[in-house]
């Protein structure tokens, strides 16, 4: 457990000291969302209609943007091999690094999303649901991303490859996440979507560390 926390702390410190990661992701998220009103026009009805989907799709892309660095630096300087040879089983190592990634990117995205919802005229009563759906959904993106990042370690054109692999896998999160916000907006029950999103998150928690650990073992072989 203490090793788990040590890895988590180390990655968080790295993210914090570097600083650029979180801010770049938030900056991309803000700009990407702000581009939509310029494209589809400023009518509040139109924006309100597309807001859940736009916010969710852009959060997905923003989370993806920072994934290629998840294991890359450790892989290059050899510390990944040292970590894999250490006391922590690789599955928990992946979990620790995915947690750190989520705290550094997923959580800020979740916190920033309601503010950007105002940009898109998202009604106030849908804001808590947007927040809750991102709180459940962004960890899945970090977990899936860990699998993609581990698989594409040392590959040619790893960043594009990562997007091609992870985006189709992330579709259920997008569908139910945006679906929950849309239900809240139209006055339907949000429970089912959020519950399924929670189920997807639990499944990802069970499967992704195992798959990513297998990929990491292959990468340092």
């Amino acid at each position: 457990m203490s090793v788990f926390l040590a890895v988590l702390k180390r990655d968080l410190l790295l993210a914090l000291r570097d600083g650029a990661g979180t801010w770049t992701v938030l900056g991309f998220f803000t700009i990407a969302v702000a581009v939509f009103p310029l494209g589809v026009g400023p009518e509040p009805e139109v924006l309100r209609r597309v807001a859940p989907g736009v916010l969710w799709a852009m959060a997905l892309l923003s989370a993806l943007l920072s994934l290629d660095t998840l294991f890359e630096a450790d892989y290059r300087d050899g510390s990944l091999e040292a970590l894999l040879a250490g006391q922590l089983v690789p599955e928990l190592l992946v979990l620790a690094k995915a947690c750190a990634h989520w705290i550094a990117t997923g959580l800020p995205l979740t916190l920033a999303a309601p503010a950007l919802g105002i940009f898109l005229h998202l009604p106030t009563e849908a804001m808590p649901v947007l927040f809750a759906s991102l709180l459940l959904g962004t960890p899945v993106l970090s977990l899936l991303g860990a699998v993609g990042a581990a698989l594409s370690l040392g590959a040619r054109r790893a960043t594009v490859l990562l997007a091609v692999m992870v985006l189709p896998l992330a579709v259920p999160v997008l569908v139910f996440g945006a679906g929950a916000v849309e239900s809240a907006q139209t006055g339907l029950a949000v429970g089912p979507s959020l519950l399924i999103l929670g189920g997807v998150a639990l499944c990802a928690l069970a499967v992704c560390p195992v798959a990513a650990a297998a990929a990491l073992r292959q990468a340092v072989e």
């Binding site: 594409s152 091609v164 579709v171």
Partner: protein, 255 residues
Amino acid sequence: MAAVSTVKALQETVLRAAQPARFVTLANMLIPWISAAAVGLLGAGLIDALALSPPDYQQGETVRIMYIHVPSAWMGLFVYALVATLGGVGLVAGHPLAFAAARAAAPLGAAFTAVCLVTGSLWGKPMWGAWWVWDARLTSMLLLLFLYFGQIALSRAFDEHRRGDKAAAVLALVGCINLPVVKFSVDWWNTLHQPASVMKLGGPAIDASMLWPLLLMAGAFKLAFFALWLVRTRTEVVEARLRAAANRARSEAMR
């Protein structure tokens, strides 16, 4: 006791056939026969589908698109399951032939999925009045195609072939778990595509005059796939051998 020895014998036969050298001999022997059977079945199926079977009472002649569309959809799903299984076998047993077979099968599966989407689009225009609708079935097939893209790209993204094979195998297994999730997630959207009418409880809801050409075509597609798959796997095996020979030659030249 007899059953155990039969299983053992079967296992040995499979393992022996899976030796790359023996596989090439076996493939050389099988490919002409399977190809001939595929062509024969395809001929019979096409005649039955395009000429003998009746036009639909509602859809008219366009229903004949079904005889290409439905078998390719089945093949797209079947091949993905096959690629994932081969990947799993490769990871567990570490057998190079399983990886070669997976690598050979994936682009074929992607092609079948693409054929399914294109024919579906051509069928959708006269029937639904649109080339494309964001319906559950169409979307999940499109995502299957994207999963194939990721799979193929990953398996070819490494200088070291073995690493690409293993990484692609992990991705195929994850994608396999994700496939039902994708299917159910998009099923939540309202659906224009008709529900299953052949493989369902209580027997097929399709008339025998249309079921037969469909089954003939499905058989022809499956045989055609097996023939192409064997050819491609054979090529992969030969290619691996050439790579090994080239590496040997290079290291000897350096010495």
